[in-house]
Every structure is written in C-alpha cells, then in structure tokens.
Symmetry: C2
Subunit: 603 residues, 2 copies
C-alpha cells in the first residue's frame, strides 16, 4: 500500500511531465525543435537493440526524420542508435529520397499538429484517470502514506544496538588518541556551506524561508568544524564528531547509502611538523578497522601536490588541475579508457597529456615506488611533484614506526572528490568481499580523508589559516553489513541488558513484585516485571528466554510465608530458595558470578 | 561586530517594511484605510502617557482624525489611548466641529498625498543609507557574519563532556528499567506532524520544497514514536530515544531554551493494567533526578479525566474543555486572577464557572485530597472526575510501593499544554534554587509527561490504538545549570582521558616516541605525544598538567643507552626508571593503581 501510493504519485508526476512536453511541442512552431523534445531516445535505443530500422525491414521516411532530429545527440548513452545512425549516414541523398513511408511506431511522437493534438488528449485523460485513482485511495481514515522520508529510515532496537556497538568501538579508538568531542547544530547559515562542495552543492538540503535566517542542513562535519575553529579563533584542536549529515542524493539503502547518514570524523588542527598528525590519522583508521574486525583492508595514500605536479609534468594547464583531478577520482569505478575519454572530451586535456597521466596513475606500491618517482625524468623537474613524493616518503617512514606500513598502498590513481584537500589524501578499502549468510557482498571504500590547510581561512576575516588533517569513517556501510549478517542469522544481538525478571506464580502478587523491583532498582540492578496484574507464569518465563534475561525472582504464597523467595536460573532452569531479606545481596552475587563466567568464557 | 551586523540587517528589514507601508498608504485611495496602516499606535500611546491631546493643550482636528481611524482598535495594549479615547467621546458633534486645526506632530503619518510623498522619499533615503552601510561592512574578505543559526549553539569539549555525563546517567536509568533504544530521522513528512501540536504548529521548521517530498524537522520525539509504532504495527514497546528536536520559538539561551535542543524520552507502549507502567515512569524520573543530584524536587501529578470532569462539574461546555485546559496550564507562570480573566474574556467560560474552577485548582496534596475529592458533592456526580480521582488513588498506592510517595504532589492546577494527553499527567519541579558561584538560579520544571492513548491510532488506517505513557527529561536546563557551575568554577571537567604522555627531554626523539606510542596504543592505553619534531620539555609537561594527564614517559639519550626509560608521575613529580622492554606492563600496572586509588578516594 505504501509503495503503491508512492508509485502512483510518481506516475502522476511523470504523466504530468509528458502532457506538458506534448503541449509544448504542440505549441512549438519549429518542427525540428518540437521533434527533439518529444522523441524518447531511451525507447528508440531499446527498439533498435532488436530491430534494424525504426519500422519495417528496410530504411524508410521515419528513419530519415529521426536521423534529422538527432543531429546534435550525444551517442555515448545510446549505442544502438549510434550503430543505426552510422548505417543511415551510409545512404546517398538519392537513396534516401526513394525510401518508402511507413506508419509511425508508437514510440515516435511525431510532431504533426493533428497527431499531437490527439496524443495530448489521450495523455491528459490518462493523467486524470491516475489522479482519480489517487482520490479514491485517499478516502480512507489514513490521509497519507505512512513512511519515513525518501532515503531515510528508522533504527529499530536491534539496529540501534549494532549501531551503538560500532560507534562505541570507534569512540574508544578516538579517545585513546586523546580526541575531544564537539557538536554543532544540524543546520548552518546557508552561506557557510556555499562554495565548499563544488558540483555537489546541489545535494544540499535547504530549509524553507520562514521569515528568518536562510538555513541549510549540514552536508558533512568538516565545513562545520572549519566554521567552529574560525568563529572561536581556535588554532589547535584534536576532536572527534559523530553526527548525522544530509545529502539529497539518489539513495541506495540496501548498500548503506542514505540521504540522512552518520559520519564519524577525527581531525587534528594546528601547525605541526609535516606528516606527524597525518600518520596518526592512518594509525587511528587501522585501530578502528582492527577493532571492528570486518576483514582485510588496505589504506591507499596519495598527495595532492604530487597529483598537481604530475598534471603539470604531463602538460595539463594549471587551471585544469582540479577538474582533471575529479576525473582521475573516477578510476575506482570506471576503466582508464572511459576516464581518458572524459579527460579529453569534457575536460579539454590533450590526448598526449591524458596518455602520460595514464602511465602514472597505473603505478602503485610502497617505498620502492617513492624512489622510482624521485628519479622520474619528468616528475623530478616539477617542484610540486617532488614535494608530494617527499611527503609520502616521510609518511611511509612514520607508518613503519607505527607498525602499519604493510597496510599502506601508495597509489597514484587515488584522487578524492572534494576540492578542499591540499596535501596527503587517503582511503581505506576492504580487500575481500564480506560473507553474509551464503552470499558475499563487496563493500569497498570504508574510510577516507586527507589534509585541508586552506578551509578554515575561508571563514576568517583576515584569511588566517589553521592547517587541518582528518579522517571520516563510513559507518553506514559497516552498519549495513552487520545488519545483513543479523538478518542472515550470522550474528545475534541483545537489545536490553536486564539481569533480573520479577515473576509470580500465583495471582495478586503485583504489590510484592513492585516492592521487590524497587529494591533491586535502588540497588542499581537492571530489573523488569510484567505490567499486568496477574500475568501467566508461562508468559513471564517466555519473556525471560526471548530476551535472554539470565535470572528470575519467582514469588509464591508458600515461600513468602516462610520468608523466602525463589531465584531461577533461566538457562539451567535451576531454582534456589533464598531468604527474602537477603534477596538483593544474593542477586548481586549471582550477577557477579554470571559476568565472571562470561568473561572467562570469552577469553 | 557579529551583533551589529545582525542589528543592521534587522534595521534594514524594518526600514524596508516602513517604506512599503508608506508606499501602500500613498497608493491607497481610501483615506481611512491609509490612515490606519500608517499610524504607529505604540508611539501615540507613549505620547498620550505624557500629554492630554495629540497636539497642543486643547482637543483639535488631529484628535478627531486619529479617533476616527482607531474605531476598531483593541485597547487592551494601549491604556493611555483608551483614557484619551473615552475623553474624546465625551464631546458632542458641535463641540468637535469647533476644534481648532494644528500642524501634525511627527509620529502621526498623516495620509495627505504630499506629506506621504515626502515621507516616502525620506524613509527610502534612510533605507538606502542603511544598505550602503551594509555594503561597506561587507567589503572585507568575510562575506557574512560567522555565527550559528539563531537559537542554536555549538558544544565545545567541556560542554560535550557535561552533556555526555548527564546523558550517560539518564541512559543508565532507562536501561535499568529494560528500555530499548530506537532512532528516527530528523525530519518527517510534514503530514505526520500536521494536527498534532495545536497552536504550537507554527513553531515547526519546514524544509524547502526542492522538488520532492514536503518535509519538516521533528518537533518532539513522541509523534515520531507514534508514527513508528503505527507504521511497523508494533503493539508493545518500552523504548528510550535521545535526540535533538526543533522549534522556531523565541530562544532564551542562558536559561537553556534553544531552537535546537535535546529531548530524552522514555515511553511504554502496550495494553496493560491501569497505572502500572505509569507509576514506573515516575520511578524512572526519581531515579534520574537522584542520579543527577541537582537538588530537591517534587513530582506533580494530575489526570486529564479529572480535569475534564472538573470542568464539566463547574459548568464548562464540553467543546471548551481543551481550550480551558490550556488556560489552566498557565497557572505555573501567571497568578489565578490573570488566568481567570483569560478564561472569561478569551475562552468564553462564564465567570461563575471560572470561580468554581478557581476553587479546585488551588487544591493539592496526597491521599487525603483523593479521599476529599471522592466525597466532593459536585465531582462525585461526574463519571470522568471519579475515574480520574480513582486513577490517582491507584497511582499513589503504587508510588508508595515504589518508595517514592513522599516525592509526589497531587496538584489540580497541573494541566500540561499538549492536546494528546488522555490520562495521568506529571511534571517534575526543582523546589530550591540552584547555587551557581555566588548566585542562585531557579530552574523550575525539569521533566514532564503523561499518558496518550489515542495518538498512535491517528496514524493507523483502521484507527487501531496503542495506549502509551511516557516521560521526557528536560536535559537542556540541566546542561545550562551545570555549564553555569563550570563557568563559576564550582565544578571542573576533563575533556579527554589520556593516561600517558610520551615526552622527550632532548632533540631527535620523534622516531622513538612514535614507536612507544604505537606500543601503548596497541595495548589499549590512552596515549598522546607532541606533533612537533622537537618540542620543549616545559611545554610537554605543561600540556600534561593542563590536561590532567597522570603519567608521562620521558625519553633521554643516557637512559635509552642503558635500556631504560623514565616514568614520571605528573602530580607528585616523582620519576622512576623502568626497563624499556617492560614499559607497557609497568604503565598498565601504574594506571591500575591510579584507578584503584581514585576509587578508594571516592568512597
């Protein structure tokens, strides 16, 4: 029901768009323009994946018309159209003039006024039918579809337990390194976010102008940190920040990509010696990934100065460094050939320069690669490149001292999307798929970060810089892996940690149960009881088993008369009588024993 | 600077409004309408507090004009205008026709076209001057005022430590009672919030329509819980939820009233026996307030059925119960006389009924009040009232079993603002001001809640109800008290919990320091070092003292040659040599000892 309602609204929107387009085409006097707007190239491409021509078994007038209309089409998305287009171009004008005329197939929205008029009519009536359907579905007592906003979700108790366990482990590592905790508001003045995210700015959630300041939801935790440092004139800080951020992206929720999601950031701000805090960020990532125990990983590292120097050495003009860099960033998802094409066709890099870049970005390794690059004929002439390589050399040396060098891969193809990085950049990647039930899931990138020395200065009235380096842990991917494992039965979680359940075997024991609960609570013991006056014994014990509550206090007439109560071990089903007055002490003793056994069992 | 910029923007806005109004008045053809819009009654009232007439010492034509214009004015805000108005009405038409005509004083925006034109000109030039000023101030590299949005704030590490300590204590109590944790998105479909908050709906933050769903930031955690239960068809749940909520209210930040603030909610959903979960909510509140140790408190309780029955018994029509209830809710801030006036003048309650209500709402007490009300002539005839009193009787009985009856005050003046309560309602109030430095601060209400049995059903397509009862802890007030204590030096907090600092007395020890840090981190020991290659010894020790780091490892050439390192106790300044190879074990031993001493010191 929820989905169908949403589907319906989507259909109405699409149908509305189609009607508007048709009407616009109808109004248009330019035949060619009208054509282009109403052709559905997706459908034509699909059609041409099965058939040689637009209609029939030989080229015809409709082929000519369509071919005329798509002169300026970018074929990269339509490989069947491309094939057909090249074929169509092979005919001479004379041949074309002899093509027969066929009736148009349905997917061709031919811009003859009459056809369009009847089409508009038809599509409008479809739209009205859809809207009528919506009204009918709305008639019930529930006025709207009950759902969370697109790309967001609730966390149920199991999911919260997983989430909190993961976050606790991460916080333990952050604090082990002396990081302090800060928090900032969920929204910022829109101006604070403007000009920080490049193309991604379109993904920012804005708040409605309700007659006050113009606000936007935070997009990450890095820009708010920079604003915080500049606003409070703080020049040194080692902080962590764990909070939700917001991006109007296309969600892929099963893979842990949401519009509202957690970031766990660790950053070191201050003027220090090169690579010392940078190496510690890498150490922090390794400690976190070891603590989470989610499989083998590597930490790819690279340096923005080296990338810039490499572009310079390859003959890319300086004003194209950043945009070329964003293209290199796509190498983790696309093959070099596609990246090369984008560089040349969209970014205006010369084919020669692109090929030279292609040689470099294939390189990865460790100290031996550093040595090789230091001697590289082209790079060694470029100051920025040498600086970058020297920095990586220092970083690798520090990583060796930290005992993590075997986890580091110096990778010249790593570029990172964001504009604000100025020095080392890094990304942690799981190298093996994770087993979930009987299936395997590839997780990929799980943490990333780098140095950004110029961001704080953007907020300072005197442009005073505070150099920063930091890392962000991609916890949503970790959550989604663990949740999938939970669903597959690979792991179990306990959502409450109650130690004692106060039960009664007979009726009219609510008052006594309440007294005992209060005694146990006041002694700090995690205790529960039924909220019913006369619950059934079976239900009470079942509750204990389902919730893995280890102990139950069982009250009964005969026992109370003798001044005793029974303590039941839920797992072993053993019951002991203890004096009513010693109950709290006895329970404490047993909980300590259980914890001790668990500890011993765990080691 | 930040404030003046904001002031300037405010002034520009006000000036712009004035210009718009004047222009509208100028364009208006109806003389009267133009008048009303441009009169500034605040100023006229202020003028009439000093003078008898609008101008001069006798009534004149301007008096007549103004009197005509304000026929429909509500005088309650303008007592001097009211006085003058009554005086003006005492003149006969003949007398009025003989009044002299004077020049208008400045505050009268007389709607003669000429005057208005010159006024518009003048005010526009003022507006332009203000804008020019803004441009000048904008000229620097900082393009906007660096601040957090109105009513929000950052939490610095001290404030976060306080906040996390408070939340940890609260969570401990929630979990002691077996509550599970859930979370929901920060925004909901706007429809989910619509119709749940009565008059307060205007305080909801909306998101901008960016071409998708229409969303609003959550206003509390109760409505999202109800949506969660209905959406997932959950009929029993004991959950806590700690998260930020958003209200476009007038902030009073020093008193802990923000537009973005934390709520800590504990709720029990399910069909149970009367008052059993309700009493546990009260027990939870007492445990939290004891754990936070912020002074003496009482828990006021009342019942919505009793309030309804009371209104009925006093002769209030049923359709005015809710609105009368909101008026009673103001009794904690306003005296009875004012509340009575509002009931009669604004809510349409008869003076007799109001007086009868006044008798009841003065009552508070405990079991003896219950007995008195059960015998009350008027109340005992009304079913709802009897049900309410009986419920309170049961609640008090359960509170006695829980050992918290001495904290409970049955108070007939307690009403609670929100519409959705259906049964017991309660509020925790600190009874003593809190001492901060040399000053005392009154905190007042610190927790509140009640039973809401019909809210979940509003989200269910078949109107299926899930009865709920819950409590919300007002942590922001607690934060603000503790932060004030911190600022006054009454308490101190440690923002990081580093145990060991790795220092070196001489130059060129970065590599050795890094190795030792890694060893300690890998052993799980909270360790820090300087990020400088050659830090000064004094600075390193100072850092330890400032951050209350108990131990330092001090490296030196001569020691390392002998295969030892020094461990320094920062407080006592004692130094010991230990073998380099035993360092991790030795450090662990000392940390255990320190913790043990601290524990013993605390008991």
């Amino acid at each position: 029901m929820a989905d169908s309602q949403e589907d319906l609204l989507l259909k109405i929107q699409e149908q509305g768009d189609l009607v508007r387009k048709l009407k616009a085409a109808k109004d248009s006097n330019e035949r060619g323009k009208g054509f282009k707007e109403v052709y559905n190239f997706e459908e034509i491409d699909k059609h041409l994946s099965h058939y040689s021509y637009i209609c029939g078994y030989v080229p015809s007038k409709p082929d000519v018309d369509v071919a005329k209309a798509l002169k300026s089409l970018d074929f990269s998305n339509y490989k069947y159209i491309k094939r057909w287009w090249n074929h169509m171009r092979s005919f001479s004008d004379t041949e074309v003039s002899l093509f027969p005329d066929f009736r148009q197939p349905n997917f061709l929205k031919y811009n003859s006024k009459k056809i369009l008029e009847s089409q508009v009519k038809e599509e409008v009536s479809k739209l009205l039918a859809l809207k009528a359907q919506l009204v009918t579905e709305d008639a019930g007592p529930q006025k709207f579809t009950l759902k969370t906003p697109k790309g967001t979700r609730d966390y149920n108790p199991q999911q919260m337990t997983i989430r909190n366990n993961v976050l606790d482990k991460i916080i333990t590592v952050f604090r082990r390194h002396g990081a302090e905790c800060i928090d900032t508001p969920v929204f910022e003045l829109k101006d604070v976010l403007t000009g920080k995210y490049g193309e991604d700015s379109k993904l920012i959630y804005d708040l409605k102008d309700q007659g006050g300041e113009i606000l936007s939801l935070r997009y990450d935790l890095t820009v708010p940190l920079a604003r915080y440092l500049a606003m409070n004139k703080i020049t040194t800080l080692k902080r962590y920040h764990i909070a939700k951020v917001y991006r109007r992206d296309n969600p892929a929720m099963t893979r842990g990509r949401y519009r509202e999601f957690y970031q766990c950031d660790f950053d070191i701000a201050g003027i220090y010696d090169p690579m010392v805090p940078d190496a510690e960020c890498l150490k922090v990532v390794t400690e976190i990934l070891e603590a989470l125990d989610i499989g083998q990983y590597i930490l790819k590292v690279n340096h923005r100065r080296l990338l810039d120097g490499m572009f310079e050495a390859c003959g890319v003009p300086a004003d194209k460094f950043r945009t070329t860099c964003s293209t290199v960033d796509k190498l983790d998802k696309s093959p070099w050939e596609e990246v090369r094409t984008e560089m040349i066709n969209e970014k205006g890099v010369s084919p020669d320069a692109a090929d030279r870049i292609g040689e470099y970005v294939r390189l990865n390794g460790s100290t031996e690669l550093v040595e090789k690059l230091l001697k590289d004929e082209k790079l060694s002439k470029v100051k920025a490149a040498l600086e970058g390589v020297e920095a990586i050399k220092t970083l690798l040396q520090y990583c060796e001292l930290f005992g993590i060098k075997d986890k580091i891969l110096f990778d010249l193809s790593l570029a990172r999307g964001l504009d604000y990085y100025t020095g080392v950049i890094y990304e942690a990647v799981l190298t093996q798929p994770i087993k979930i039930g009987n299936e395997e899931q590839t997780v990929g990138s799980i943490a990333g970060g780098g140095r950004y020395d110029n961001l704080v200065g953007m907020f300072d009235s005197k442009n005073k810089q505070v150099p920063c380096v930091g890392v962000s842990i991609g916890v949503e991917r970790i959550f989604s892996v663990l949740e999938a494992k939970l669903a597959a039965g690979d792991i179990t979680v306990r959502t409450s940690d109650i130690d004692v359940y106060v039960a009664s075997a007979q009726k009219n024991f609510l008052e006594e149960r309440m007294k005992i609960c209060a005694e146990l609570w006041d002694a700090g013991i995690k205790t529960e009881q039924s909220y019913k006056k006369n619950p059934k014994m079976l239900n009470q014990l079942q509750h204990c088993e389902e919730n893995k509550i280890p102990l139950a206090v069982v009250l009964g007439d005969s026992e109370l008369k003798r001044g005793v109560v029974k303590i039941r071990n839920i797992t072993t089903r053993e019951e002991d009588e203890v004096p009513r007055n010693d109950l709290v002490q006895e329970i404490k003793k047993r909980i300590d024993n259980l914890n001790l056994n668990q500890l011993n069992g765990a080691t």
